[in-house]
């Protein structure tokens, strides 16, 4: 019995498209965990928050979810900068980030999730847009626009961030924070301020990731928890702090998950991320493209 070529190629395409979306979900964690060394496990909760904002605006005003998310970027940036300020004052300054800082984010994760449950209930919510539904066909290949548009948006987000990090002063200062804080201070930049900006950016990306998530699938508050394993698996697989590595790691995981759900059934897909995470940690903790 041979696996049909059509099935294989479409599983591959679905995986790449899914991987593009995963890159958008993970890129913020690559900044916060990879560069700043802040283990923000509440990241997926902010993504879900982004999804719900896209949902409300879409349901009330009929606005496009991706457009909404771009409008929301500054709001999420301020939210992120505020959270970093609390985190810095309460944990980083006192050197307690490992135990209490982690618990703080864990608490945030649950509080956000339960607040959403209390306000919106546990029903699945979805958005409407012109690209949800139709697909492009190219020979035997299917490109569902519902997946293609998020993938392209994610790549655009990645491109913009990569450009920002490598060309602007603040962007380069953010990369420098991970390497040598003292040297950064000597160059006339305050590490705390740079980290606050970087964490703000990291949370701002969740506005976009959330909008993309609700385009791809209906969302309910606890969906976020499924992404915790994925996000960190990708981040570790790609090599901490490397944005191109993150995109490649995301594509790899997307393809693996797509094959798993095509050939073994979708209910097994969540286990793939964990397997990847454990194997990476066991055999190559620096990731595929680590320093």
């Amino acid at each position: 019995m041979g696996v049909s070529f059509d099935l294989l190629i479409n599983a591959l395409i679905a995986g790449i498209l899914l991987g593009g979306f995963y890159a958008a979900v993970t890129i913020g964690v690559s900044i916060s965990f990879g560069i700043l060394d802040i283990v923000n496990i509440a990241h997926p909760a902010f993504i879900i928050l982004g999804s719900y904002i896209a949902y409300i605006v879409n349901a009330r005003l009929g606005l496009d979810p991706i457009l909404t998310s771009i409008v929301m970027l500054p709001v999420f940036y301020v939210l992120g900068a505020g959270i970093y300020q609390v985190y810095y004052e309460a944990f980083e300054k006192r050197g307690q980030e490992s135990l209490r800082g982690l618990s703080f984010f864990f608490g945030l994760l649950f509080v956000t999730e339960v607040m959403l449950i209390l306000v919106f209930g546990v029903d699945y919510r979805y958005v409407e847009a012109w690209y949800i539904g139709p697909s492009w066909h190219l020979g035997v290949m299917d490109f569902p626009l519902r997946m293609l548009v998020p993938c392209l948006a994610a790549l655009a987000l990645f491109g913009a961030l990569q450009l920002f990090l490598s060309t602007t002063f603040i962007g380069r200062a953010i990369s420098a924070v991970a390497q040598d804080q003292l040297a950064l201070q000597l160059m006339g930049a305050s590490p705390t301020r740079i980290k606050r900006i970087a964490f703000g950016i990291s949370i701002a990306t969740t506005a976009v990731a959330g909008a993309l998530l609700i385009i791809i699938q209906p969302v309910e508050p606890s969906v976020g928890r499924e992404y915790i394993g994925r996000v960190f698996a990708i981040c570790v697989l790609g090599g901490l702090g490397s944005l191109p590595g993150t995109v490649i790691g995301a594509m790899l995981l997307g393809i693996l998950e797509s094959f798993t759900s095509t050939f073994y059934g979708p209910s097994w897909a969540p286990a793939v991320a964990f397997g990847v995470l454990l194997l990476t940690l066991a055999f190559r903790p620096a990731g595929l493209f680590g320093r």
Binding site: I41, L99, R100, S103, F110, V111, S267, P270
Partner: protein
């Protein structure tokens, strides 16, 4: 105070709690009390790793559910199921299996709950050891992330495993009669003779009271282990890891070994807390075994009580556990997780040493004030 003395005091206290609860003679006390005691075990277990060595385990629910589901798996494995399995095998094979293993299975099954607790503990301990071995050699954050993901994956496995009920869940029918180990029964009869008549009331122990008693025993074990560690060389080793792992490693402390011991012990206790759960709840679903409240409570309770001593998780679990019993009855269970989450955030920011730290600080200030006069 010697650990042996502590154990004795803990047993006396546990017995006092049990008889006091019996005096109220309302089964609801046992239902609610069981949950609180379960949280005492979970919080203490979490604290052995989290509080003493500083490594955060977000997967308490996974270890708890492992214990619960090993009970379900073994509960379903009755001699009848076993016979059906064997009969499916080739004839020559099944006949020889029947003659050898039949008596063993017949004698062992159904397993008593204390046996199931031990098995659940062993399985969780092995998973804890494995996860720890793969991730604890790296930075602390990796272990935390791996435990978080572990919960999702184990739930995926359980949902896909039809034998234990899959996503539909499994009914656990309680046995009609208490299957108490004979030696326990004889001990009880012996002790009963020594007690005054009003304590050794003749009403037989109901099933929920039996479960409550078992959980009480687990609480005594968990607290004694935690306190024993605190006062031992092991505890000092843990503390060096918490304070400065690099310095500890450089001074010859076998950090990886110690961390693995902590993970294994902690996992085992969580599994033991989960093993009787299916009998308590009667109908076990993946979503209830992997419930949010286990993960968040087993972190919040030690954090709120205080992480440096065995009393912290105990205080945190009793306070938060009772509060939640009250809130669940009067408001709703989502509000309950919300309250715990908010309390956790407030405490880690404002009172990093928990209630114990607050009380200690207050006592010290009171003493200093007296000394000033």
């Amino acid at each position: 105070m010697q650990t042996r003395v502590f154990l004795l005091i803990a047993i006396v206290a546990a017995a006092a709690v049990f008889f006091a609860a019996r005096l109220i003679s309302n089964d609801y006390v046992f239902f609610a009390g069981y949950t609180v005691l379960q949280f005492v075990v979970l919080a203490t277990a979490w604290n052995i790793l989290g509080g003493y060595t500083g490594y955060v385990n977000f997967g308490s629910a996974a270890f708890f559910a492992l214990g619960a589901y090993s009970t379900v798996a073994l509960h379903k494995f009755s001699p009848q199921v076993y016979r059906r399995w064997v009969d499916d095998m080739p004839d020559w094979f099944s006949s020889s299996v029947h003659s050898v293993i039949d008596p063993v299975v017949q004698a062992l099954f159904p397993l008593s709950i204390p046996t199931l607790i031990v098995i659940g503990g062993i399985i969780s301990a092995i998973v804890g050891l494995g996860t720890g071995y793969l991730t604890l050699r790296l930075r602390g954050a990796f272990f935390a992330i791996a435990t978080l993901a572990l919960a999702v994956v184990l739930q995926t496995f359980i949902v896909n495993w039809d034998y234990v009920g899959g996503s539909r869940g499994a009914y656990i029918i309680r046995p009609n009669e208490l299957e108490v180990e004979p030696w326990l029964l004889s001990t009880w009869t012996a002790v009963k003779g020594l007690l005054p008549a009003w304590l050794a009331s003749t009403t037989p122990i109901s099933y929920i009271q039996y479960l409550f008693l078992l959980m009480l025993v687990l609480v005594v074990i968990a607290l004694t282990v935690a306190r024993g560690i605190e006062r031992s060389q092991l505890g000092y080793g843990f503390a060096t890891i918490r304070d400065d792992e690099l310095a500890a490693e450089a001074s010859g402390v076998p950090t990886l070994k110690l961390k693995l011991i902590a993970t294994t012990l902690s996992g085992a206790l969580m599994g033991m807390a989960g093993a009787p759960f299916p009998y308590y709840i009667g109908y076990l679903q993946p979503s209830s075994a992997f419930g949010l409240e286990y993960a968040v409570n087993s972190i919040a309770m030690p954090m709120i009580g205080g992480t440096t001593s065995w009393a912290g998780p105990l205080i945190g679990a009793i306070l938060l556990g009772s509060l939640q019993q009250y809130v669940t009855v009067t408001i709703s269970s989502s509000v309950n997780v919300l309250i715990v989450g908010l309390l956790l955030i407030v405490f880690v920011i404002i009172a990093p040493s928990g209630i114990i730290g607050l009380v200690q600080g207050w006592l010290r200030r009171a003493q200093a004030g007296q000394g000033g006069k």
